[in-house]
C-alpha cells in the first residue's frame, strides 16, 4: 500500500452509477497507471463495474489536469473520473 490515501472524485453519470461523489482510497502498489486504476476500481463491486464498463470512454484528470490512460499516478493527491465533457 502507498502511505497516503488518494482522493477519487466522480462526476456526471460516473458519479451517479458509482453512487458517491468522492472517496479516499489506499491504492495497492501495483496500480501504477490510470489504466491500472480503472481496472482495479472495476473489481470493487457492481456499481463500479457498471460505471466503468467501457473504461476507454472515461476521462481522467490528476490534480486538476487532463491526463491520458497511460499516465503514472504516483504522487497524485486527487484523481477525477468523468464522462466526455459537454459544456459550452
Amino acid at each position: 500500500m502507498n502511505e497516503h490515501p488518494t482522493r477519487l472524485v466522480y462526476f456526471a453519470w460516473v458519479r451517479e452509477r458509482i453512487g458517491r461523489q468522492e472517496e479516499d482510497v489506499a491504492l495497492p502498489a501495483e496500480v501504477e497507471t490510470v489504466a491500472d486504476l480503472l481496472t482495479w476500481l472495476k473489481g470493487r463491486g457492481e456499481e463500479y463495474e457498471n460505471a466503468l464498463q467501457y473504461p476507454e470512454v472515461i476521462r481522467v484528470a490528476i490534480n486538476h489536469e487532463h491526463v491520458d490512460h497511460r499516465e503514472k499516478i504516483a504522487g497524485a493527491r486527487e484523481i477525477a473520473l468523468f464522462p466526455p465533457m459537454t459544456g459550452g
Binding site: 472524485v9 462526476f11 456526471a12 468523468f82 466526455p84 465533457m85 459550452g88
Partner: protein
C-alpha cells in the same frame, strides 16, 4: 505585447451582463478595434426540455478554462479576453457561456473566440443533464464527435 494581457475567467451560478463584459475589455482601451462575443444559450430541443442542469468540477473548471484562455493569448494578438461559464439549472433561453475577445483587427478576435469555444466544449469539465418537459427522467447529454473534430482543427 500579449504576454501582459490577463484573461478574465469566471465560473459562476449567476447570469452575466454582456454589455458590462464588453465594457470590461474596452473601457479606456483606445487600441481596441474589434470585439467579438459568443453567447451559448440553453435551448429546449423543440419543446422537449424544460431545463438543463450543468454540473462542473469546481476545483478544475476555472484552471482549465484559464489554460485554454492563455493558449489563445499566445496564439493571437489580443487586447483582452473574457470567458464566463455558468453552472446550475438553466431554463430554455438562459445564458450558459460567454466568450469575449478584443483585438486591434477583427481576424484575431474572431479566430480566438472560435478557438476558445471549440476547446472549451471538449476540455472544460462541465456536464449537461436534461430535464424533460413531460416530467420523465432526463439523460446526460452525449458528447459529440464533431466537437472533438472542431477542437482538432486548431492542432499545431
Amino acid at each position: 505585447m500579449t504576454a501582459s494581457v490577463e484573461p478574465y475567467v469566471s465560473i459562476q451560478r449567476e447570469d452575466f451582463d454582456v454589455a458590462a463584459e464588453i465594457a470590461r475589455l474596452t473601457t479606456g482601451q483606445t487600441n481596441v478595434g474589434a470585439v467579438v462575443n459568443f453567447i451559448g444559450l440553453c435551448r429546449d430541443e423543440a419543446g422537449a426540455l424544460s431545463a438543463l442542469e450543468l454540473e462542473h468540477y469546481p476545483g478544475m473548471a476555472k484552471a482549465e478554462i484559464a489554460r485554454i484562455a492563455n493558449e489563445a493569448l499566445e496564439r493571437w494578438n489580443l487586447c483582452g479576453l473574457t470567458a464566463i461559464h455558468r453552472f446550475g439549472k438553466m431554463a430554455p433561453g438562459d445564458n450558459i457561456v460567454l466568450v469575449v475577445t478584443a483585438s486591434t483587427h477583427r481576424q484575431a478576435a474572431f479566430e480566438a473566440a472560435s478557438f476558445l469555444m471549440d476547446y472549451l466544449k471538449s476540455r472544460a469539465p462541465f456536464w449537461k443533464k436534461e430535464h424533460r418537459a413531460d416530467g420523465s427522467a432526463g439523460d446526460w447529454v452525449d458528447a459529440k464527435e464533431e466537437d472533438d473534430e472542431a477542437a482538432a482543427r486548431w492542432a499545431r
